[in-house]
Amino acid sequence: MSFPATLKTLTLETSSATTQAYAALSHDYNPLHLDADFAATTAFGAPIAHGTMALNLLMQAISETFANQPIREHLDIRFSAPVKVGETILAGGERRAGEADIYDIWVRKPDGTTTLTGTLHIEAVS
């Protein structure tokens, strides 16, 4: 099994509606995401999107790249910058030079700010 050089890049426009939907989906009603008054008292200054919503956009990019192929996925990521609700994010990745099955993965804003970074190891299942 050979792996492509890049993952499919996906885009998501975050909004109050997507944040509310993701809060319901994940049961994560942390006021950092939903309460503008509370978020204004924090270092973020405004509501931020759920980190795992960005992670899940990346999961979708991985799924669409390896559609219908039997694989195991191993991810190690960190959330490197917040995404304010209303901002757009892009998720994707590139296969690491010299590696057959390891990708450097990311979620970024259109201005290039990286909000999530990490590695993906794909293991083919025979």
Binding site: A21, S26, H27, P31, L32, T42, H50, N56, Q60, P70
Partner: protein, 131 residues
């Protein structure tokens, strides 16, 4: 709610378990997923939905909690067992480690998700606990 009931950093101990949370991948979750990420066929649960379920289990298992915790990092190991919409995911939550560093309270939570006897996901949520 009594203040002493809140899960504060000092109450966590490595090895501590918080039980198993069962979460059904029901039509409401399916609709919410599609509202955000687009169409998802009935026969295959997106792996990202396991991530969302992991968060739900982590949040429901450890309550009440202080406001303002930060999800800082994450590891995820998916098996090749593919759940379907309609399945019930059983997710065990534990405390793996804790560390106070530069005035921040770092806690690692272990997650293990299974459908019946089939493990589908394990991983670690690395959090900065608010207090």
């Amino acid at each position: 709610m009594q203040g002493e009931d809140i899960w504060t950093y000092r109450r966590f101990e490595p090895g501590q378990t918080f039980g198993v949370v069962d979460i059904q991948m029901d039509p409401i979750k399916h609709a919410n997923w599609q509202d955000i990420f687009g169409p998802s066929p009935e026969e295959t649960l997106p792996r990202g939905m396991l991530v969302a379920a992991m968060m739900e289990a982590y949040i429901r298992a450890i309550q009440p909690r202080p406001k303002g915790n930060i999800h800082a990092a994450q590891t995820l190991d998916f098996t090749d067992h593919m759940p379907r919409w309609g399945d019930t995911i059983s997710i065990a939550v534990s405390c793996q480690a804790k560390e106070e560093k530069k005035g921040r309270f770092w806690v690692d939570f272990g997650i293990r998700a299974a459908v019946e006897e089939n493990r589908v996901l394990s991983g670690t949520i690395r959090s900065i606990w608010a207090q």
